[in-house]
Amino acid sequence: MTMPENDRGADALRPHAEDAFAEELKALAAADDRPRPARWNLSPWAVATYLLGGTLADGTVITPKYVGPRRIVEVAVTTLATDRALLLLGVPGTAKTWVSEHLAAAVSGDSTLLVQGTAGTPEEAIRYGWNYARLLAHGPGREALVPSPVMRAMAEGRVARVEELTRIPADVQDTLITVLSEKTLPIPELGQEVQAVRGFNLIATANDRDRGVNELSSALRRRFNTVVLPLPATADAEVDIVARRVDQMGRALDLPAAPEGLEEIRRVVTVFRELRDGITADGRTKVKSPSGTLSTAEAISVVTGGLALAAHFGDGVLRPSDVAAGILGAVVRDPAADRVVWQEYLEAVVRERDGWKDFYRACREVTA
């Protein structure tokens, strides 16, 4: 009938945001004296503080959940307080899902009302399904209805989440139009409807590089306020993110830690950023951008791959030759155009750079 109860133990491999940060949420709720929209656990200001971090009057330290521009979080939270839905866009690895989960946790205290978008997501996942045993035994009725997370969120005035909206087939996506504009979900079989109560809203995430899958219809797009989550603003921030994630993944994969690898990580991040931004770090030379996204997530996988190579086939120290092949694979997605871009970059930028000789040679080797 309802969702299976979660075993919210400390044993969970990955606890929900509202459980992992329950203490912070409690402290924030206690300290928060600003007006709260209907059925919100916190005021918009407190939600923004929860995401961006800060220190409360009673000394409780709120850890930052999202490291990035403040205005993005403010626009996102503000959108949830209006009756427009929120669409988080961004290339892979920009923490879309993470932000959506924490927003839902802070606003409704529940981040589990989730629809995962895939090519096979059916309409039932957004509207409702039937418990056929009951349906046969007792005939149609509300008891035989299996509500979707969206339907539950509407009835309870909470925030629902839809992940990877653009992967959902277009006709199923359009089911959301009635929900978002009329704020109601009709159940024609019963001649009833579920009306959204105040406090309901919806956060969707989508990958803006992956347009090919299922473009959002303009009708649906009009119902969303769009917030684009950017890639890390500075090289240092990105190096930090990559190093931390690589460290975590390396431990999971039982790879030896390689502190000397920081130099190589910085190099990978520099190459990725320069190609992505189309300009060298010193701002002097423009370069062409390849067709791939070159996101932080890809930088992480290049470095992890390089570490694995170094651990299993090298001397355990991350060297230029370990990452060169990975970089080539990430950069050259389109064999013709991207190869020219990459070679130009190698010749015009890498060759001239002090201390990059080894790297240049390694890259030439794998490129040729």
Partner: protein
């Protein structure tokens, strides 16, 4: 004079932020309430004479008051005024009264400021003291001082309740600030403030205490301070002085927005103008304006979008604790609601609305801009009269005056002042000759006035214009042309900016054809640059970089399955680049280019025309052994090759028949190959050959035929002399040519 006598003591000190719309409204309200007998404004007193022009109906802000040293227009300072500048509002207020109120500028005269430094730009008063303001903002809990000022001052509505109270409070705050920070390092401020106080004393003698002062907020405490006239006088003695001339010049919002230089550093003049002009509901009107712009650009924006954006902006402002949604909030709302989170339409909004394209106007009767004066001076010294009648001018660039005339005309053309247009030279085709068609249209004076915003001398203005053009150019070709024009106009100071733009465009251009088209012009410029004595090393670096990029991208571009037309075009480019690279003197470039040619010649997917041409270019410079050439020829013309491709190859390889006549080695190659074609295949090859050789001139064909007939004797011919020539040259007969050659190279005696 017309109002009731003011009840307060001392003058009315109105501290403002320059170019702040809120300040402007508040100033108007305060003036309306206090009705002072005179208005004193922070600005150069030399401008007093020009003030009546502000009331002229032909005067439309943004304009700038320009002061420059009479003998050196390059030493100049601008005081830009927009419709929303408090100073402008105060000037206009005084002029609009039933009995006009006297207006005076009271800042330190430009005669001193221009003498002290050689024109470091507008008085520092152009920007508010950001640092102390930051302290004030921080105290109020703001991280951005500009925003704090906006919330506290600019957005506070009309201040109808107490039009004077806010100014008093602000003055106090500034006083506290100056006490805390002192005015260390601002020696010039002390002098300026002393001068302003002196002028205020003069005003008091004339008008009593009932006058108002409009100045930067920072100065308020100093102007209210009690100092002795003698102390102020002491500060002002012995200041250096130059003779100064002033003029009104039209200004633009874009130049207001430019930080540094003569810009006022206002990042959002369009938004300020809107705030100042909007009667009510500024946010709603602003967002409607944005929606209108997006609709013009074919974006679907409905009134529902505007409603949502207004709500989002208001809620955002509430979350941030701001009294009214500001520019940041509205733009963020627009991004999220109307632009799908994208920055691209937002850039358009920034450009068209936040900055805007407003151009000011100055009435015709206003004193001439210095650029005009500089031009007149140059016309006089070069004896080049501005005449309405069209006439032709022949210039010999080896003569100094003629070269100077050429420079002037080229510079004016860069500035969009089309006095002279280059015409084809009659008779002589030498590069040292230039022919111009001159005609002075009256409207060119307007152009000169417009170009006045770029600078005060022809050279400075042309340099600034070229730099701006380079930044704005979209295509590589435009920038290359600009670089050439800069060299022609002798604008070596603009060259770095132009070359930077050139390097940037070249880096981003994906079309190798465009790169290839740009390179020959550059190589040419490089030689001109040498001739005209401009520094060519930067140019050489750019050209080298360009050649490098061509080397990388040419082979894939040629191998990308081109049709015949594209292949023919690229063949031309390959040739042009080949010629250009020979002119460039960069280490290793020649070898790299040879490698590219080798790759072109040897790659199957490259069209035959280009392959053949590459093989030939290599052969000519000795980069390809004869045997290898023969092999390539055999490959290209073998029966398995598609006929059009094979025909293209031979066309590319042997396109100029004359060379075939004179280069026996080449002819031998073709001959050997042809003789080796099996009989059965010969008929297949024949049409291909005919296509190429049939296009030769009859004379060439005949010579070729004769050579081939003599074929077996070619080994002997190589050692011996051609028919009609002695085996060795006769030095005495050869020397006879030298006097004629000397005449040709040196030209007629000057």
């Amino acid at each position: 004079m017309s109002g009731p006598p003011p009840a307060r003591r001392g003058p009315l000190l109105l501290g403002v932020r320059h170019h702040g719309p809120g300040s402007a409204r508040a100033v108007r309200a305060a003036l309306d309430a206090a009705r002072p007998a005179a208005v004193l404004i922070e600005g150069p007193p030399e401008g007093d004479a020009l003030l009546p022009l502000a009331a002229d109906p032909g005067m439309r802000p943004p304009v700038a008051l320009l002061a420059h040293a009479a003998d050196d227009p390059g030493r100049a300072a601008f005081w830009p005024l927009a419709a929303f500048s408090p100073e402008w509002v105060a000037i206009r207020w005084a002029q609009e009264q039933a009995v006009p109120v006297p207006v005076r500028f009271i800042d330190l005269p430009a005669a001193h400021t221009l003498a002290a430094d050689s024109g470091t730009g507008p008085d520092e008063a152009g920007s508010v003291r950001l640092d102390p303001l930051a302290a004030l903002a921080e105290t109020a809990g703001y991280d951005d001082p500009e925003r704090w000022w906006e919330d506290v001052v600019e957005h506070r509505g009309d201040g109808a309740a107490d039009p004077l109270g806010a100014f008093a409070a602000l003055g106090e705050a500034m006083g506290a600030l100056r006490e805390a920070y002192g005015d260390e390092g601002r020696a010039r401020d002390r002098v300026r403030e002393a001068y302003m106080r002196q002028r205020m004393r003069a005003a008091r003698r004339e008008f009593g205490d009932g006058y108002a002062v409009v100045c930067g907020a920072w100065h308020v405490p100093a102007l209210g301070a009690r100092t002795t006239a003698a102390a102020d006088k002491a500060l002002l003695t012995g200041l250096p002085k130059v003779k100064v001339e002033t003029a009104w010049v039209p200004w633009t919002h874009r130049r207001l927005a430019r930080a540094g230089g003569y810009g006022a550093g206002i990042t959002s003049p369009g938004w300020y103008a809107h705030l100042f002009a909007a009667r009510d509901r500024p946010v709603e009107r602003w967002l409607t304006k944005i929606a209108g712009l997006l609709r013009e650009e074919d974006q679907q924006v409905s009134p529902a979008h505007v409603i949502e954006a207004v709500r989002l902006a208001a809620t955002l402002a509430a979350i941030r604790g701001r009294p009214l949604a500001g520019l940041t909030e509205t733009l963020e709302a627009v991004r999220a609601v109307m632009c799908d989170g994208s920055d691209v339409p937002l850039a358009l909004i920034e450009d068209r609305l936040v900055i805007g394209d407003v151009l000011g106007e100055v009435p015709d009767g206003a004193p001439a801009v210095p650029l005009q004066r500089d031009l007149t001076r140059r016309q006089r010294s070069l004896r080049l009269k501005a005449e309405a009648r069209e006439r032709e001018l022949e210039l010999d660039l080896r003569k100094d005056t003629d070269a100077a005339k050429s420079l002037l005309l080229h510079r004016l053309r860069l500035l969009g002042i089309g006095w002279g247009t280059p015409a084809a030279s009659r008779g002589s085709t030498g590069t040292f000759r230039e022919t111009w068609r001159l005609r002075w249209d009256p409207e060119l004076s307007v152009r000169v006035a417009e170009a006045g915003i770029w600078g005060t001398t022809v050279e400075a203005a042309a340099t600034a214009k070229a730099e701006a053009d380079a930044a704005r150019a979209r295509e590589l070709g435009e920038v290359t042309a600009l670089a050439e024009r800069c060299l022609l106009a002798g604008l070596s100071r603009a060259l770095p900016a132009v070359l930077r733009a050139l390097a940037d465009r070249a880096a981003l251009d994906t079309d190798v054809a465009r790169l290839a088209k740009a390179l020959p012009a550059l190589a040419r410029s490089l030689r001109y640059g040498d001739v005209r004595g401009t520094d060519a090393s930067a140019l050489a670096a750019v050209a080298g970089g360009l050649a490098e990029r061509i080397c990388v991208a040419l082979v894939p571009a040629c191998a990308a399955g081109l049709d015949a037309e594209a292949a023919a075009e690229l063949r031309g480019h390959v040739e042009a680049v080949h010629g250009a690279i020979a002119l460039l003197d960069e280490e290793g470039l020649g070898e790299r280019w040879s490698a590219v040619l080798r790759a072109l010649a040897g790659r199957d997917r490259v069209p035959g025309l280009i392959r053949g041409r590459a093989a030939r270019l290599l052969l000519d410079e000795g980069g390809l052994p004869a045997q290898e050439t023969a092999r390539l020829m055999g490959l290209a013309l073998s029966p398995a090759a598609p006929p059009p491709d094979a025909a293209g190859w031979i066309e590319g390889f042997a396109q100029d028949g004359t060379l075939l006549v004179h280069d026996e080695r080449l002819l031998a190659l073709v001959d050997t190959w042809l003789a080796g074609v099996p009989e059965s295949a010969f008929t297949d090859v024949l049409p291909l050959l005919r296509r190429t050789f049939g296009a030769y001139e009859p004379g060439v064909k005949r010579s070729l035929g004769e050579l081939v007939r003599r074929g077996p004797a070619r080994g002997a011919a190589r050692g011996g002399a051609p028919e009609g020539f002695a085996p060795l040259p006769d030095p005495s007969r050869a020397d006879a040519v030298l006097p004629v050659l000397a005449l040709l190279l040196a030209g007629p005696p000057a």
